[in-house]
Subunit: 418 residues, 2 copies
Amino acid sequence: MNIKARVAEIAKNAKKAATALARLSSDAKDRALLDMAEALTRQTGLLMRENAKDLEKATQMGLSAAMIDRLVLNESTIEGIAKGLKEVAGLPDPVGKVTSMWRRPNGLLVGRMRIPLGVIGIIYESRPNVTADAAALCLKSGNAVILRGGSEAINSNIAIAKILQSVLTKRAIPEEAIQVIPMTEREAVREMLQLEEYIDVIIPRGGEDLIRAVVNESKIPVIKHYKGVCHIFVDVGADFDMAVNICMNAKTQRPGVCNAMETLLVHQDIAGKFLPLAASHLKGAGVVLRGCDRTRRILKDIEQAKEEDWYQEYLDLVLSVRVVDDLDAAVAHIEKYGSLHTESIVTNNYQNAQRFLNEVNSSTVLVNASTRFSDGFELGLGAEIGISTTKLHAFGPMGLEELTTTKFIIYGNGQVRT
Amino acid sequence: MNIKARVAEIAKNAKKAATALARLSSDAKDRALLDMAEALTRQTGLLMRENAKDLEKATQMGLSAAMIDRLVLNESTIEGIAKGLKEVAGLPDPVGKVTSMWRRPNGLLVGRMRIPLGVIGIIYESRPNVTADAAALCLKSGNAVILRGGSEAINSNIAIAKILQSVLTKRAIPEEAIQVIPMTEREAVREMLQLEEYIDVIIPRGGEDLIRAVVNESKIPVIKHYKGVCHIFVDVGADFDMAVNICMNAKTQRPGVCNAMETLLVHQDIAGKFLPLAASHLKGAGVVLRGCDRTRRILKDIEQAKEEDWYQEYLDLVLSVRVVDDLDAAVAHIEKYGSLHTESIVTNNYQNAQRFLNEVNSSTVLVNASTRFSDGFELGLGAEIGISTTKLHAFGPMGLEELTTTKFIIYGNGQVRT
């Protein structure tokens, strides 16, 4: 069978499995998840052997140490994966939840009930733990999943999927509920993205290039975020200690992630005092600053920020800094250069806090807290399948509920329309 | 300026207007809507003169009487439009509503707040009332709208938009909040569907061909339904009077709409008694029946239903009828041939009612009520901008809330991640 036909068969089988999955009880799903956690731990040896093949090839191909590090499966990473599955088993099941119900004047009782989306395609890069994490979230939310990982993790991903499938079979759940695309050719992804008849949504996880390629080729709706150009605005009257603490956390705690701060905006009335203080901390942590003209009048030794810096997701210990006139100027800057991801204000002014929350329409907007909280776990969603910066369906961190939709359910007693 | 550039300018201006719209108070929006209702009524003469141009051209082009009928603006239809705008003014504003809020262990207060989607593109066919209706719903939900109606209503649509815009200007709201594409060329739509940078969602309203064409060309997410192949399953033990009444209403009250019944499924144990009774009523109303073999053993004079009949949206006084073994067979039939639109069960069996509601994952599922209730007004949404049969973002009838999304808002007091 050629690649096209094989991918189509995978997708068709996923759709068939989805019907059965949608009707599974929470108990049945949770028991399968707990069994999967146990099976992965029990098969640590097998997983490490398969993973060794990927690691060997990665070394031969000269992948960076950081990339190879993300590939590794060992006792501790496998234990981490198993723990994640157990946690998903412990989360509330969104499926079947009636989110609201009301009575119509004609006596009809109308409600909205959560149901799975159907078949979810996940396209991701090297980390093999995503295979198990994403599969668990899709199973828990009653969705079939088709997983397409990076070619550098193919042996690890196939091994993980086989173990998960063996548990499904033992529990009389269709094994096509969780499928890894076993071909590493680009053509397989391209074909997958055409199958709108079988696949309901595509979630790409990875760098901006991967995501743009998926969006351009897909006929299926894509839930995505391209990048996180996150801002912190330090208002006049802000508590300096709090502001420095939040900025340090947002920039340096994990600079390579999408919810790290990339641009610092400072109110002109405090810039002269706040910037030297913040700069001393940031530079102490190795952060390179790039400033606007007004910033450089205060911090004379830093680089000039160019126009393109304001659009930049550095994902590194680099920060662009701008002095702004007031809250309006800060909001306007975010509106122009932001990526609709995450923005925070540090302020003691009640009205400015409320205005920032109301007027900034990024997916996550904070007052007096680090941008790093823009995360499904940190916000209390219990899990995170990804972050969306497009407004349709989901906006911001996505948990289990975002893998469902609602249908209308209506209890009548003979009503007809007049 | 060429068509491409003009459409791009319209879209760019819409996006600019969207920022201002998102911040408008409910009062400001409602006052504008009430003014618009008044202005349309006051300008009845002008509207009828512009509409006459469209009617004349439609007659010359030999459009059907039904199509011309849908084009007409007169005192009564304009009064109807104005009444619609006043009703939208009276609906609750979804924007700014905090749908839920919770406290995290670290003290963060996390909530989700409704915000507008941004810029909405509506593509529709001849009825000029859609121009005002859709504009009102978008304005109320804080969205800018770009309207592309049928060429046969172009003068009417432009006239309506001009009147609405004059109210916006008087109330200091950017007039680009409501724009009609004034060019009738196909190229204008094609260009509109490429502008993902400026337009957030496309809602096509019309026949299946229009919608498929839009989906195929659009880079922007499309909220759509292709067709409504709606089913009623009459269970063993159902109240026959109620079942006949519901079937008659669902099939004959307005056969040309998407929530009319297209296929009747009857439990085998009652088919011998129920089918003759139902057939006598349906035939009396002019309905042509097409049956499966078992149906035709009972109703000997009806046509044979072919395989393609089960997929058919007749939009006419035609009904396909099938005898099924039981609830499972009915659910399986709906799963195979249905369009995820609307299905109803008529039953007195508690367990079957609950199973039908749980197992049928169409966008609207009813017990003992007509499929014709699948409608935003009838379900209590206050309005309807369209119906979605794809699961992403909205599923089923869409009201004002479906023209919004939610962002996370977070109140902290200095929290950082550890």
